[in-house]
């Protein structure tokens, strides 16, 4: 999952076009309820099930996309090992 994919999810959830790679979800009015929509969106697209605590530490599309791709690699390795 790339940064643009995460930006799309932010735009839909925050109902704002004004989102870039370094936009902080929580500074833009995102709260724990809206965060569940971002986490659901990421899980649907990538299969990576991040937690709210992960999100707090990576609140921008740039950081979140990086976290998702490292988890995706992890998932692939785990699958390959099976």
């Amino acid at each position: 999952m790339n940064v643009d994919g995460v930006i799309d999810i932010y735009r839909r959830v925050l109902e704002s076009e004004d989102i870039t790679g370094d936009s902080d979800f929580f500074e833009l009015g995102g709260d724990s309820l809206l965060a569940t929509r971002v986490l659901s969106g990421i899980a649907r697209v990538s299969g990576v099930e991040l937690s709210f605590d992960d999100f707090l530490l990576a609140p921008t599309p740039d950081a979140l996309a990086k976290l998702v791709s490292s988890d995706e690699r992890h998932l692939n390795t785990a699958d390959g090992a099976r």
Binding site: E15, D31, S32, A35, T36, R37, L39, S40, L50, F52
Partner: protein, 485 residues
């Protein structure tokens, strides 16, 4: 009055009669025998009638053990969320008049001077500590609601209220020993008692699980299925998001689920229609209403079908006396009423009146079939993620900042939920560009998270009414497009 064993001891006696698994903590069972023995050890450490006991909460069995231990000793449970700013914690403990403070998890640091007992170090007692005799009007717990002064407002709930309501909720929910009830609500808010007490007095299993709180619905649903959860009690705002997830992302409810209880704010008719479109017909959906001052739930209704217009809050439960004033305000009386606001006689007189009825501040309408519709508030109070917030309290906290000349706080509808919004006018000497960050930083240091505005706008002036009072709704209309709450 002669001491009796009315109140919590009947609850504790009920807990003690059961066997089997009381709590399933991240999959590990804790039996009723162990639960009782550990609660007895807490009661023995506190001694009889310890008064108000502060409990630093955590999502652990230790917090449930602390609650039962305090009740067994004849004390009053005063939960403190360790995530709150230190200043707020101290104000809460002082307002409740706590002596001893119990800690339930690593890293919890009560203010200096408190007598601290760690529940984890107490183990079990071989002999059960007999519950201390208490009167029905003795305090069972003290919780805090939002007050207009900026200081926490303690509500004292008596023993007879939790006994009465626990019995009523066991009937309403139909709890049996076969049930597995998820413990979802924060242990610092009263909703947790409607999960814990009906379950543990019925011999059911309380499911305490870290996977319930990740914010990820796929993980939440997988956990509830793995643990065989039968009863969920969710804030309405969270249920709205769950329904959205089920409808849009294709998640599925656990087959074990038989009852879903919602409450805290108005249920959205659109989400209810989606819910019934999911084929979740086998799950009983119960909408509930209640205030901290009237103890947990006073009104409930089965949401068995789609509703046009507002979703009703239901009928009064059998223990509840109700009146609707000509202005449409809902008044509530009966044995579940709290004793008032501790140390605040004027605030108590204003809401409890002296006629045995509590003024809820909620405007309602009675349908021909007797169910009530909630129409809104008679004051400015708003619900943020199910928690009552008095805008005046947030205004008082923000207004204390030296660079703020004036402030108005109100709720605003955005993206399907209510957002607390603050409009701040800078003082003449202040740098308007730095004000937003400075006000938020100060709030984070003094106020709990639910009082932090989700939106904060620095504006040149507020709107005023003809009589010169700050007009919150008018201010919102001036600066927002279509931002009605």
């Amino acid at each position: 009055m002669t001491p009796t064993t009315v109140g919590a001891p009947d609850l504790l006696a009920a807990v003690r009669t059961h066997t089997g698994t009381a709590i399933l903590h991240n999959g590990a069972p804790i039996g009723y025998r162990e639960l009782t023995a550990r609660a007895s050890a807490v009661a023995a450490a506190l001694g009889p009638h310890p008064g108000a006991v502060g409990v630093y909460t955590s999502r652990t069995p230790e917090t449930v053990i602390a609650l039962l231990g305090v009740l067994t000793a004849g004390g009053a449970y005063v939960p403190v969320d360790p995530a709150y700013p230190e200043e707020r914690q101290e104000a809460m403990l002082a307002a409740a008049g706590t002596g001893t403070v119990l800690v339930t998890a690593p890293g919890q640091a009560p203010p200096p001077g408190a007598v601290v007992v760690d529940v984890r170090g107490l183990g079990e007692t071989d002999t059960e500590t007999e519950p201390s005799p208490v009167d029905g009007t003795d305090a069972a717990y003290i919780l805090f609601t939002s007050g207009s002064t900026g200081a926490p407002k303690p509500v004292v709930t008596p023993r007879r209220a939790i006994s009465t309501v626990t019995a009523a909720l066991r009937d309403l929910f139909g709890v049996t020993p076969a049930d597995r009830v998820l413990q979802f609500a924060s242990l610092s808010w009263d909703t947790c008692f409607e999960e814990i007490l009906p379950a543990l007095t019925s011999g059911a299993t309380l499911v305490v699980d870290d996977e319930a709180h990740t914010g990820s619905f796929p993980r939440f649903l997988r956990m509830t299925a793995e643990r065989g959860v039968t009863v969920l009690d969710l804030p309405t705002a969270y249920w709205h998001e769950l329904v959205r997830h089920l409808a849009e992302d294709g998640g599925t409810l656990p087959e074990s689920l038989r009852l879903l209880i919602i409450g805290g704010e108005a249920a959205a008719p659109a989400r209810l229609a989606e819910w019934h479109g999911l084929g979740a017909g086998g799950v009983r959906l119960l909408n509930t209403y209640g205030c901290t001052e009237t103890t947990l739930i006073t009104h409930a209704v089965e949401l068995g079908e789609t509703v046009e217009g507002r979703v009703p809050i239901g009928r009064a439960l059998p223990h509840v006396l109700e009146r609707v004033t000509p202005e449409g305000e809902l008044l509530i009386g009966g044995p579940a009423l709290s004793l008032g606001y501790l140390g605040l006689p004027e605030a108590t007189a204003a809401r409890f009146g002296g006629d045995g009825f509590f003024r809820t501040g909620d405007r309602v309408e009675r349908l021909p079939d007797g169910r009530l519709l909630h129409l809104g508030r008679l004051d400015g109070e708003v619900k943020i993620r199910g928690v009552r917030v008095d805008p005046a309290e947030v205004e008082s906290l923000i207004g204390a900042h030296p660079d703020v000349a004036a402030v108005a706080v109100t709720g605003m509808a955005a993206a399907g939920r209510t957002v607390l919004t603050a409009y701040v006018v800078p003082a003449a000497h202040a740098d308007p560009g730095a004000l937003r960050a400075s006000v938020l930083a100060r709030l984070r240091a003094t106020a709990p998270a639910h009082l932090l505005p989700g939106r904060l706008r620095v504006v040149p002036e507020l709107a005023h009414t003809a009589s010169g009072k700050v007009d919150r709704a008018g201010t919102r209309r001036r600066y927002e497009q279509g931002g009605e709450a």
